[in-house]
């Protein structure tokens, strides 16, 4: 089975802190994704990556950056956390071809105080 592991289930940080969310997958997937999930808004794509050191902006990239130094790891960075970034963050991965489903981690519930 595909395993997508997010480093923390719950995280509490303070406004202005630099926050790192880590995601690791074990299926040699080329694609990796970061979404945020908010009630009534569904899942919104923040960034995705096709390959090591490659990244593409999603729908809501403002206030975030990403890093992909190794194929299996995709990090989401909140450069200066703000309260409106309190949310559930979901990481996903997939093969880079048509028709491939995305596999999700269990999510990180991030609270910014």
């Amino acid at each position: 089975d595909v395993k997508v592991t997010q480093s923390s289930r719950y995280l509490v940080k303070r406004t202005g802190e630099k926050v790192f969310l880590e995601c690791v997958q074990d299926m040699d997937h080329e694609n990796m994704f970061w979404y945020r999930q908010d009630p009534g808004l569904g899942l919104r794509l923040i960034y995705f990556s096709y390959d090591v050191k490659m990244k593409e902006k999603g729908d809501i990239p403002e206030g975030y950056s990403v890093s992909r130094e190794k194929k299996e790891r995709f990090s989401l960075i909140l450069e200066s956390a703000s309260t409106n970034q309190t949310s559930m963050y979901l990481c996903a991965s997939s093969f880079h071809s048509l028709n491939q489903p995305q596999h999700f981690g269990d999510g990180t519930r991030l609270s910014i105080l």
Binding site: N31, L41, G58, L98, N99, G105, G107
Partner: protein, 112 residues
């Protein structure tokens, strides 16, 4: 632009009754469609997917979905709902092998 609409925010179904969750998509080319389920506090689990061929797709946990191109719909069904099916359900369309576009989700409650 591509979009996915799930018209029902919240549905309550009696245990043992049938279920249909609606999904409409807007996509220019042949769509690749997915249904995911999310239990409380968990990530998303793939229920089923449609790529081509037979328009009735079988998934896990007794779910099925029917693709209707003329109606731009991909509705999820289950003949008999169990209490453990209570969760949030998301329909999604594939953007040419890259990111998915998700609907806003439908929360299913199951009453006894």
């Amino acid at each position: 632009a591509q979009s996915v609409t799930q018209p029902d925010i919240h549905i309550t179904v009696s245990e043992g009754a049938s279920l249909e969750l609606r999904c409409n998509y807007s996509y220019g080319a042949t769509p690749y469609l997915f249904w995911y389920v999310q239990s409380p506090g968990q990530g998303l689990q793939l229920l089923l997917k449609y790529f081509s061929g037979d328009t009735l797709v079988q998934g896990i946990k007794g779910f099925e979905a029917e693709f209707k191109r003329s109606q731009s719909s991909f509705n999820l069904r289950k003949p008999s709902v169990h209490w453990s099916d209570a969760a949030e359900y998301f329909c999604a369309v594939d953007q040419a092998g890259t990111a998915l576009i998700f609907g806003k989700g439908t929360t299913l409650s199951v009453s006894s």
